[in-house]
């Protein structure tokens, strides 16, 4: 079976309709129209758009307002006689999503509200390779508890959490393998469950979802961009390299949810040994630490993000070793990306995570390899662009995935908080 995440909506009730499911459908329909609108719609506009009666729309909106999912926008100026119609918007002070990330050299926590705004964001830099999984997740739980307190102070209720990890996750929330962290068969969901609960119990919103960081970063990027079904390859360049494949607005997860391991595509079959056990994987050429080492910045004892900023400064100043390292990394990345484009016929490649500040130097060699190697390149250009979100994409994507679950099934939240 193919798992495409994204928001699955309840189907419109068919055949014999129970009142419960009809109410749920109407709630979802109206909330979806409010969330998707260009400008705050009035109740009358919602009725016209949904074919529901004015009375039904009014009752549904009242439920949504009482449950802090929707609020009235500032009145729009009168355009004629009568009262101005009050438009409806998603509530910025209702439920929110908690996004968590464990990566090789940082922990991140963020809170995103229903409108998609980031309300809290913490990044804690530390090399987590020498640290046990329990210790790493304990530190993360500490950061999360502070985020929760901050969110509560802003009137927000955390309705669920999602955790991004740089590895392969199974359905039970266990990390099967995270080669760059050195984790193998780590029950992260169980380890986090040992800490005090951070989120309210909401039907239809799991308290904790564990997912691959490249997948969540791609979802973060998808929902930070313009609305509409986008298709792109999002590459997260951290110590490891992961990719999220977004097709028509949905994440493509593969047969068992383990797609996107672009970091282990081969660039040179007999190249340097990789932490995965293979040789010549893309990661050995274009992982963050490989680029820094090639530029002579490996021994500088700086955190990777600071070293990356330094590398960008050196490249901007025309320092030859920095330029050469980025040229070589971009060429290897371009070889792999050209292979993906030949295989999947994607027209947009997004460079995210630690790559974002390096895009000015990575993009030209990536485009050169695409132009050399992609069969359709001559008449069908591929766009290579930096991600809208930077290194925070995975945590933001994680928090956003919680929010979208609430929007997709508002009845679960309303049952407790309405």
């Amino acid at each position: 079976m193919w798992h495409c995440q994204g928001v699955s909506r309840p189907e419109p009730p068919a055949g014999a309709v129970r009142q419960g499911s009809l109410r749920e459908w109407n709630l979802t329909l109206v909330l979806d129209r409010i969330a998707a609108a260009d400008r705050p719609p009035s109740r009358a506009e919602l009725a016209a758009e949904t074919s529901l009666t004015r009375a039904t729309v009014s009752a549904v909106v009242e439920d949504l307002v009482t449950g802090r999912l929707v609020t009235e926008a500032e009145p729009t100026p009168r355009t004629g006689a009568g009262r101005p119609a009050r438009g409806l918007v998603l509530a910025p002070d209702g439920p929110a999503g908690l996004g968590l990330e464990v990566n090789v050299d940082y922990l991140a926590v963020c809170v995103v509200d229903l409108t998609g705004r980031i309300r809290h964001h913490t990044v804690h830099r530390a090399d987590l390779r020498p640290v046990s999984p329990a210790e790493a997740l304990g530190r993360l739980a500490g950061l999360a508890a502070r985020a929760r307190a901050d969110a509560a102070g802003q009137g927000l209720t955390l309705a669920g959490a999602a955790l991004a990890v740089p590895g392969l996750v199974d359905d039970a929330g266990r990390v099967r393998l995270a080669p760059n962290l050195g984790w193998r068969d780590v029950a992260v969901a169980a380890l986090l469950a040992g800490h005090p609960p951070l989120t309210a119990h909401v039907e239809g919103v799991p308290p904790l979802v564990v997912d691959n960081e490249a997948n969540l970063a791609a979802l973060g990027e998808l929902h930070s961009g313009p609305p509409g079904p986008a298709s792109f390859l999002h590459i997260s360049g951290e110590v490891g390299i992961g990719a999220g494949i977004v097709l028509d607005g949905a994440l493509f997860r593969g047969a068992r949810g383990w797609s996107g391991e672009i970091g282990h595509m081969s660039v040179r079959p007999d190249g340097p040994a990789c932490r995965c056990g293979g040789r010549g994987c893309l990661e050995t050429y274009t992982g963050q630490e490989a680029i820094l080492a090639a530029a002579g910045l490996a021994g500088a004892d700086l955190p990777a993000d600071t070293a990356t900023t330094r590398l960008a400064e050196l490249a901007a100043a025309g320092e030859p070793a920095a330029l050469r390292a980025l040229q070589e990394a971009g060429t290897a990345l371009g070889v792999a990306v050209a292979g993906v484009v030949n295989l999947l016929d994607l027209d947009t490649v997004v460079l995210g995570g630690g790559y974002a500040p390096l895009v000015p130097w990575l993009r030209p060699p990536v485009l050169a390899e695409i132009s050399r190697r992609v069969l359709t390149a001559a008449w069908s250009p591929v766009t290579v662009r930096p991600a809208v979100l930077g290194a925070e994409a995975a945590a933001v994507g994680a928090a956003g995935s919680v929010v979208r679950r609430i929007l997709a099934r508002p009845a679960g939240w309303l049952a407790r908080h309405g």
Copy 2:
């Protein structure tokens, strides 16, 4: 937009139902149940399964029988009192699909009936690289005319045709690029249209669809295997190498329909020059002619299929050059396949076309590379198997695609032939 071929069914009519569309929906529904049944269903069984009335089912079946889409199977033995129920099956003497293929070193034509049986199959071996597109398509039209006469003699009506080409095709039926044939911007649909029409005009069934041969071969394989939504990578190993990506029973076509160009994924970025203009593409290592050359069979002046058979014989006899050539080809193929599996998390790889007879020697090195390079290989095995169909897969897939269009919208056929 993402084009997933496969059979698109009309949606069940919603809201106000017009009689025309309701009749069409019932025809499609009943025909689909007959096509999908394990054993010939009776009218009563169809009524129970579809929730249609007995009278409606009888009327629909009468239309389908009159239109030669359905026929009554041999009576089943009585199981109790009363008349034996007569089961219904797809008609073997109604409409059929014409499948055409132009490849680098052969032309192929086949006819597939509604039941999926191959009723005519011709392969004409000739190196088409020195031949103009018009001449090649003229020869193909000659073979097709003979296939049509043979089909008519068997009581079949060709309802439409599909043409497989080893290159990139646009929506207008133009080959943008077929590197191994040396074709660029060839209007194949227009060139074939200069020959007398071969198929009946049926609403909803285009007289000629042009598609990539690897896509059609993958569809041929999909519909030759067990029913149900399969997911696999199908690799067609001819002079060029193409792939069809099947996800949950549908072909994945990519943003512009040009997915599957696995032959131009890089194995060694600075390897041998490829006809595409790149270097070190998979095709330069594992294309049919590359394997034969490595085995010392290139100058033998044999057609590729005969030379491939000879290579298999030499390998079976333990001839060192043959074994070494296949080992090296399989290793290069394995590097590319491992990259695809890392990227897409597919669990089945099918080796088809000219690879089918070489699978005993290609499979071990392919599996070895998967095991070395795929992150999930240790706990999530990948099956590598030969295709059910051999080199005829693309033409059979092409003919089958026509048949599936008729099954998906029987009303078009019935309007003229009912």
